[in-house]
């Protein structure tokens, strides 16, 4: 039982068993966001706040309490992301890189404002 979606070149890597969700990421491009003026302290608060970013619900972040384990540890970010912009795209909409990603599209679905997104990027960039 496989549901390869024929309008994608390949089915997404994460096929839940073979009961696939061939979700076609309707990715809209990230607009230009000013990433230079993000405030890491504000970003940290957002990342830990259940009603905001709540990154800690899914990611181990050093210094954060009771982290979840759905996503990878947010650590050594600068060695893995060449630019803040690349990191911002991941947080804007994780399905751009991984169509099946189980991470909310914080920018695309306006879960965070552009200012909040810039703050979170500034914070995560320090990890």
């Amino acid at each position: 039982m496989k549901f390869p979606c024929i309008c994608r070149r390949r089915t997404p890597a994460l096929i839940l068993g073979a009961l696939a969700i061939a979700a076609v990421g309707v990715a809209s491009e990230m607009p230009k966001i000013d990433l230079t003026s993000g405030d890491p302290a504000a970003g940290k608060a957002i990342a830990m706040d259940r009603s905001k970013g709540n990154c800690i619900a899914c990611h181990l972040i050093i210094g954060g309490e009771s982290p979840g384990a759905i996503g990878p540890a947010l650590i050594a970010m600068q060695t893995r992301y060449p630019t803040k912009e690349a990191l911002a795209i991941q947080i804007w909409d994780a399905t751009v890189k991984t169509p099946e990603a189980a991470m909310p599209p914080f920018g695309r679905h306006a879960i965070l404002s552009q200012k909040e997104l810039a703050d979170v990027v500034a914070y995560v960039w320090t990890l």
Partner: protein
């Protein structure tokens, strides 16, 4: 039109609509793939232990839970439900007039009702029994209906889930397919499907909560959750999980939730009923 052609057409349609899933496989195939997925993902879990949800995976949580089960928090609900079951309506009749086989019939639900052309569930029929006897319907999430449901679940313990999708009515298969699509559709501001949490990330943690595997999800409802401080129905759980991803929840016993229950319970075929349950 042969099968392959049909399948491709469906896929094309699905892609065009951007909808996440199509209907290429039979329910029997789905069920085998689904159950094997969990057996392979959790090879150390004896298959009949999936009825215990997250506690099948988490030894520490399980210890607490087993201690709780010594003095089950749902006991009062069973007692209240039993009283309600026995108390006659204003017209002198009782639930037993609607359910001549008695309260222990959860293993027969949900089931396809051919005459009505819809999936019927036990809570739905309990409320319909009330209305037919001139009583007010109860709410579908909490309270007396969940208590009657708890009593009936208790009386049904040990029955083996065996949901059927009758071949002589294509609408039954269509309802199953709708439930399946619901299960795999991303929804809400967070853009998650049920499967994201309860298949792909089952066994992982969301904050401190271990995500239970989907296999076994329907065995033990209604459930007393310490977090809620009360007993609630399966559809109350659906609502909570919809709202967690900031999606709009549906009404209790809506067609959406009944079809979802039909799909999910069919996936659980072969497991034992062990409701009502207790969860942290």
């Amino acid at each position: 039109m042969n099968k392959t052609h049909l399948m491709l057409t469906a896929l094309g349609l699905v892609c065009a609509l951007g909808s996440p899933l199509t209907a290429a496989s039979t329910p029997q195939e789905d069920q085998a793939v689904f159950q094997n997925y969990f057996k392979q993902r959790f090879p150390h879990v004896p298959p009949d232990d999936f009825k215990n949800g997250a506690y099948a995976l988490d030894p520490v949580g399980r210890e607490n839970w087993e201690a709780i089960e010594e003095f089950p928090p749902y006991e009062a609900a069973i007692d209240n439900g039993k009283t309600l079951w026995k108390t006659p309506f204003a017209n002198g009749k009782t639930y037993a007039d609607c359910f001549p086989d008695g309260p222990g019939i959860a293993g027969k639900f949900p089931r396809w009702d051919k005459d009505r052309g819809m999936v019927v569930t036990l809570p739905l029929l309990v409320n319909e029994c009330r209305v037919a006897n001139g009583e007010k319907p109860y709410g579908y999430f909490l309270g007396p209906l969940a208590e009657i449901n708890a009593y009936m679940a208790f009386e049904s313990r040990g029955q083996i889930i065996n949901v059927e999708i009758p071949a002589d009515d294509p609408r039954a298969l269509a309802a199953y397919q709708k439930g399946k699509e619901f299960y795999f559709a991303r929804r809400g501001q967070f853009n998650f499907s049920c499967a994201h949490c309860h298949m792909g990330n089952s066994g992982s943690t969301l904050r401190t909560e271990i995500l239970s595997p989907a296999f076994g999800h329907t065995t033990h409802f209604p459930v007393y959750r310490s977090k809620w401080g009360e007993i609630a129905t399966l559809h109350r759980r659906y609502k909570g999980c919809n709202e967690q991803v900031r999606a709009k929840a549906f009404e209790g016993q809506s067609e959406e939730y009944r079809d979802l229950e039909y799909f999910m319970t069919y996936m659980d075929n072969g497991l034992e009923l062990n409701g009502p349950g207790a969860r942290k």
